[in-house]
Subunit: 333 residues, 4 copies
Amino acid sequence: MTVRFGLLGAGRIGKVHAKAVTGDANARLVAVADAVPEAAQALADHYGCAVRTIEAIEAADDIDAVVICTPTDTHADLIEHFVKAGKAVFCEKPIDLSLARVKSCLDVVRAHEGTLMVGFNRRFDPHFRAVRAEIDKGSIGDVEMVVITSRDPGAPPVDYIRRSGGIFRDMTIHDFDMARFLLGEEVTEVVATAAVLVDPAIGAAGDFDSVQVLLKTASGRQAMISNSRRATYGYDQRIEVHGSKGMVAAENQRPVSIELASSAGYTRPPLHDFFMTRYTEAYAAEIAAFIAALAGKGRAEPSGEDGLIALALAEAALKSVAEGRVVKVSETL
Amino acid sequence: MTVRFGLLGAGRIGKVHAKAVTGDANARLVAVADAVPEAAQALADHYGCAVRTIEAIEAADDIDAVVICTPTDTHADLIEHFVKAGKAVFCEKPIDLSLARVKSCLDVVRAHEGTLMVGFNRRFDPHFRAVRAEIDKGSIGDVEMVVITSRDPGAPPVDYIRRSGGIFRDMTIHDFDMARFLLGEEVTEVVATAAVLVDPAIGAAGDFDSVQVLLKTASGRQAMISNSRRATYGYDQRIEVHGSKGMVAAENQRPVSIELASSAGYTRPPLHDFFMTRYTEAYAAEIAAFIAALAGKGRAEPSGEDGLIALALAEAALKSVAEGRVVKVSETL
Amino acid sequence: MTVRFGLLGAGRIGKVHAKAVTGDANARLVAVADAVPEAAQALADHYGCAVRTIEAIEAADDIDAVVICTPTDTHADLIEHFVKAGKAVFCEKPIDLSLARVKSCLDVVRAHEGTLMVGFNRRFDPHFRAVRAEIDKGSIGDVEMVVITSRDPGAPPVDYIRRSGGIFRDMTIHDFDMARFLLGEEVTEVVATAAVLVDPAIGAAGDFDSVQVLLKTASGRQAMISNSRRATYGYDQRIEVHGSKGMVAAENQRPVSIELASSAGYTRPPLHDFFMTRYTEAYAAEIAAFIAALAGKGRAEPSGEDGLIALALAEAALKSVAEGRVVKVSETL
Amino acid sequence: MTVRFGLLGAGRIGKVHAKAVTGDANARLVAVADAVPEAAQALADHYGCAVRTIEAIEAADDIDAVVICTPTDTHADLIEHFVKAGKAVFCEKPIDLSLARVKSCLDVVRAHEGTLMVGFNRRFDPHFRAVRAEIDKGSIGDVEMVVITSRDPGAPPVDYIRRSGGIFRDMTIHDFDMARFLLGEEVTEVVATAAVLVDPAIGAAGDFDSVQVLLKTASGRQAMISNSRRATYGYDQRIEVHGSKGMVAAENQRPVSIELASSAGYTRPPLHDFFMTRYTEAYAAEIAAFIAALAGKGRAEPSGEDGLIALALAEAALKSVAEGRVVKVSETL
């Protein structure tokens, strides 16, 4: 069975997914839509597919599934439309910045028994998957503490920051999902500290650039997340998971593994400087997983519900900073 | 100038300090006292010094300084006595488990213009000192976030736990001091989560065995501390400090640096399994620093005030866990 | 400009090159030939190209270049045919196992001013290229000593060994080329020791499985090569280059970068277990370099001459083992 | 039982051994001798022992053993004298630069059933010992190939070079002993290449500064040694041992284990820059082993015979370079 795809959005991330779809033996890219016709056409030319409107893709008989890479504020509407049209949906994170809107969207998905997978790509990074595999094998016993370090090489433009929903909803949200992926138990409490240390303009936009978060589950499992919008040495993406029998950690990745030794010491090159090069394999693997799920192999996960809970954790972190207290997830979900 | 020492307490840590004193060219061990006469005698025989009572050491003309390694509940009294007697005092941490008692003790030290150094030995670990030296050199720019991982190979006996003042006062206190040593600015806010995951008996004793702490300074610098009473792979002692220009980290230490490769992968041996072997150099260096300070080279630091503040941070963490909120240090100090 | 390709040989390595050609925006795979029609057809179906005979490809107007992946004993003849037919040739190593045959083949290439690139893929590994780039940048000063470790996960079948020309021509030849790539000066002397330690059947076939080689250039630059047909921990591929100002090394590669810590120590997974997964990027990059050279960007290197010299070093090593002495390269080249 | 020591030679290495002897609970330093009276006196003052002449130490009733740290050309004579006087002898390497003289000296030792241990201190480095322990445990199966990297931070003065017997007898000799310690079988063949790359003055003195050596045993086990008188990044001392079931390696050592990350990459400090700091633990452990052997625990190893064989390997390497061929050890031993 070949899954026939429509791609909504031919921007940076749209191109990444187009490459993943066309590279998968079990999928075919049928059509692409974009508000900028030239962008859609260029991508269509490259992969030999059609340019269509979103409406045409929605109505098409020859399309089974869509990948939504349009701006965030269109996600929830598009999910609802395409689920109603009977298409399987892969949507870039987040579903929406408003918890209420995400909930109503998921109600529609449920009502139509739709398939919705959300693009938390890091779950598909081979190194992080290997960490999870060790946990599943029992190598570290019962999970006790998860430590996630996630530091961006540099801050995005303040314009982006303003539309982003803030660092917890935009950046930490990946770490909330990763913490859930690794903890093996739902988070019940969140507490955070936050500061503006990288760029005062970020503070002026009402956001933070340096945050720390603690999570706790009902049985006492805990997680720590450390985020910064600055890391001069590259894209710092580490996880370590401690359990009753040991620890498993995923190391940072760099483009080349060389070491130079001189009178100044031993130097290895900086890390990847961009999420696309860092997570190349993860982007391809998440689309492959979506395609496999449509073929009946495995579930389309992370689900819309996973997107909802990660957003609720972000809300809780924000509330914790505002009120200087531990916030129960039940207060926001 | 040779500093003439009296040693109070000939137990495990007393022996460590006796070795440090006798190995220092600028010091001499004159006498040792211990409630167990055999312990004092054995140590005196080994190093060729006298056995005396605490009172005799206090009254002695031939003793300039004392090292206090007696049980915690005697520390504050002994500090006061010896400061009044005009001796310089090096005291094992903590000064006392009660903040009020520590404050009154420090009042006495101040009133007599006494010299008091507190045994936060980790400040003298060569690796951690090198981290601090890089900060001082400006290698990482302005400090932004400190991450401290401190995990014991195994939990102490519950009896010990009961007398210890709890994990924050007993174990995290070292990390509080280290955070202050590295942050370069006083901590103003503390928040913590805590759980019992290692041993229910620890919980039954009213303590925790797995804790996470966030610290924040007035300007927004932050620190994370992760503690567990269990680490199957050895004594996990890492710090990393992030700044505006980069990051500096101290790696874990192991007795031998070999690697074995086989079909099972690449394996390095576990870490040190004991604080005494991990911090051998630190114990010697802190006594050397005390001796140097008495000779006018540098200050006797960490001071009693440092001991007080670390304890206040522990109190704040405990209060944070009890009340589920961010606690200002001014509430406890 | 799009380079139109014919592929000769649809076996394991043929498939790798087909993927590289079809994945390159500046190339097109027009036709494939194989002695086994089903193999050719399967590959043609997958990539939407034609199946043709070798003769048809040779005569074709719509083909600019060929990739030769047929058995070794056909390489030299095919190179001559296609060079005469005016096609650019990329040929898998070795050109031939006989130095005399290689020389006569290169005479033909020269006579027809043909383009011939030989598949020493390791030169295109990003890590090894980065090592070379540091040398070129002057990071280590003048090159003094090169150390190459190359150990296979397991021995090939003895049948293969018998046809391989022996370990020096089959396996070490890659390291001879790498040594030349890094030394920056031609090798003038070779000495080697060799033993059978892995499998007596290899010895019975007249070959060795564990060898060491020393190389020396006219000015005294030196290289060491260590080879074994066995490495339980995976495909061990390391290089280090020492110079007057420092050292640069390329580390081993593994599929996932995780570390598991337990009471048994700290364990990372084994290395890649196969040359195709280890050198995935190198295979794609060498074809890209060939295509770029045909488009006038850079030279088609490694050249046939490089193939010849590497084989001459293999001959010299063999002679050294047989005669127990240092062999001058001029004796074999 | 306390072993009573005389120390011959109060120079740099003499001081190291004095510290080891006085730090050992089972030994006492009774007297020290040195051609420079002030040197002997300073050391005697520091450790509270007597200054005596060599003759007086030889005749003394209160001395059981001597440590010989005098210039190389006095070693053999002193060994003979003290063995005849019934003292156990620990002698710094080498016994002599002449194989014939070493042989005649060992004849005297044997004739008097003397105890002679030679100072190949590296056997006592905890990391290298751990490598050997893994071999002994069978962790890597049968030993197949040993790789030793030994590079000095800088070349010694040419005056020293002239008296040293050349790089093979002075520097590589440690590696020859280490190779024997790890191979588990006697070396039968040696071949080497050598060059002058660091300093032409070394060449003018008739020596080399950059050498490579291959060793082979009767059963085909092999070893590679790489030496240079220059390593800008510190004292490079690595070993790796490959066996039928795996590999074990000892990593380099540095004074502090920190890592600094910035836009320039990840940098660890240089290695130790001096053999005395690198091998501090080894120097103490070798004297402890000598003392233990005198108390009947273990053998006094490495023995005079070990010293002889290492020197014979050095002779063979020199001969190999001179004659451009593989040299059998039986030709020099």
